[in-house]
Symmetry: C2
Amino acid sequence: MAPGIGHEEGWPQVVGTLDDVAAASGVSRSTVSRVINGGSVSEATRHRDLAAMGETGYSPNLAARTLASGRSGVVGVVIHVPPDLLFQDIFFSGLFHGIAEALAQRGAGMMLWLANLSKEQTLERILGMRLFDGLIVTADMLDDPLVDGLVRSSLPTVLVGHRHRDRSASYVDIDNERAAEQITDHLISLGRRRVGHITGRRGGVSAEERLTGYRRAMKRAGLATDGLVADGDYLARSGEAGAETLLAAGVDAIFCASDTMAFGAMRTLERRGVRVPDDVAVAGFDDLPQAAEASPPLTTMRQDTGRLGIEAAHALFRLLNDKEAAPQRVILPTELIIRQSTVGPLGQP
Amino acid sequence: MAPGIGHEEGWPQVVGTLDDVAAASGVSRSTVSRVINGGSVSEATRHRDLAAMGETGYSPNLAARTLASGRSGVVGVVIHVPPDLLFQDIFFSGLFHGIAEALAQRGAGMMLWLANLSKEQTLERILGMRLFDGLIVTADMLDDPLVDGLVRSSLPTVLVGHRHRDRSASYVDIDNERAAEQITDHLISLGRRRVGHITGRRGGVSAEERLTGYRRAMKRAGLATDGLVADGDYLARSGEAGAETLLAAGVDAIFCASDTMAFGAMRTLERRGVRVPDDVAVAGFDDLPQAAEASPPLTTMRQDTGRLGIEAAHALFRLLNDKEAAPQRVILPTELIIRQSTVGPLGQP
DNA sequence: GTGCACAATGGGAGCGCTCCCATCCCGGGA
DNA sequence: TCCCGGGATGGGAGCGCTCCCATTGTGCAC
């Protein structure tokens, strides 16, 4: 019994298979299949079959289709990050919707894998099921057995936000290092000399790269960074704590590896009676919606996460459509958004 | 080529099918199938087959299995809410992890459907694919064609946070009405007379039920509610705005349908120099992690969203294991958490 | 008029599994 | 000794589809 069909008419209208449609339309199964999959069929037949499919409410059986063709039309999206990060960080929201939009547009299904199993189990099940045509994987960790395993498998895979050392890996990312360098440069150009940095989750690609970028800019300007780096984890709390540390170290600017941490840092500064940007300038990273409405509005680095998702999906399609395709590597631009947390309302420090 | 198998030994170790395992173990396909699915097999054979499967790294083909048996072992989780809500509200985080945990424990797969397609398309594809053994659906809207369609379909379905008027629907929920009544009672018992309410997203089950509960408590106490209800949408911004409105109406307490809105409301009160709880008491709903650390700490209604997810999964399993099972209806308890946003540090108002 | 290319269609094999039924073999009771 | 019950196993059909190949029908050049 085909599910979801509730008519109670005078006939076996419960049509579930290609053969049923074929019978109803007076052609063979093969022809109906061609209509669905775009083979060469006469206009008349196509119309008749389409009509028959409409009447019967026919819809192809995914399992049968996958078994016969080896393709499922379903893309796996693997988000193996700690739950608290996943749901606090709008990064993933934008990413998701980008991916979902691009996949839906091409008629591809999307199956989400969150971090509910161990990495080994996840790897095993994803590969074992053989359900996916391809994979989009976000994994920020420098060393991640899941990502390594997925990349090594024969399953077409696109990494998001993770530049894998494996030369054969396809990925979509931003240039964290350059972006961090740029934002640090901005702070330095404002005359700040003691620029502190609150890092993202250490061991993660983005956090390490942003730290590297920050260090490079400081070094180039001939500024020391000793004692000016506080470890964070992208969440607000660590921004508060980091600001506390950096304040003690004596800074005149703080570059936070995420906006969320910047908000935390600003809370600490406010509590301590430190003026922003007069005493300490603050910059974030992400350009969350709240950044523009913070007080003062937050200088930050905008990254378009929706775009990131879309590009990932497109890269995967390219991989899927051409088995010989070279690894896809896409670096998306970021944009420095200068607001009053670094440059006062009248343009003064 | 079976993916993920990298050995380079002296033999066709690339085993992908049941027949391959059978050949390697010297038995028939049927026997290996029995070993996997728990049929009656001699101990000796079982061990031999298991060993053969281990060596070859065999893993069953989901599509073939689904096609032959009509069961996939995969549960669909449908979250059809606006994106901004999804990723700001920890409600879903807890829910997810509860569901994921319970499903993983039973070896069931989980496929997530977010709101990337229209409700009609979603319905069509979910039903059409015939991939899911069952469904867990969160849908808060009073009128939701997707939920209606899913419930009417023959696919075993459990609703989360949504008590459907359909008597045959299975659901897991909390008693929003009673909880709201209880929290309003608490406010009234403190001597507050002008208790305002900032609602959740109107048209949603939870929002309407909480409003009803609030109204009932007020009515029972002989208090008027005219002008004391401000429409919100669960997000912080609407809490700020709602508080503004209610302040103008003159309230001495505000019950917000979510903690997030309560935080927003408290921000407004602080900005206006209104003391909490001295001038205006504030209560929320959800007991987010931040509630305990707000200043002042927030009185709220705790709901265990993880439990909600687990119970939903269990209800679905019951439905799946017994085709004749009656509709499952589970109401989980909530707990009033009293903190200083309603009762001052020394117990005074 | 004949032959041929090519578009439109039908038919059959087979994807990897489950499930039912037939078969085999063993031991025990008559 | 023969027969029978029952556990262990093998074999075959079939799930609904795709894909290849064979077949048919058409229009066109010769």
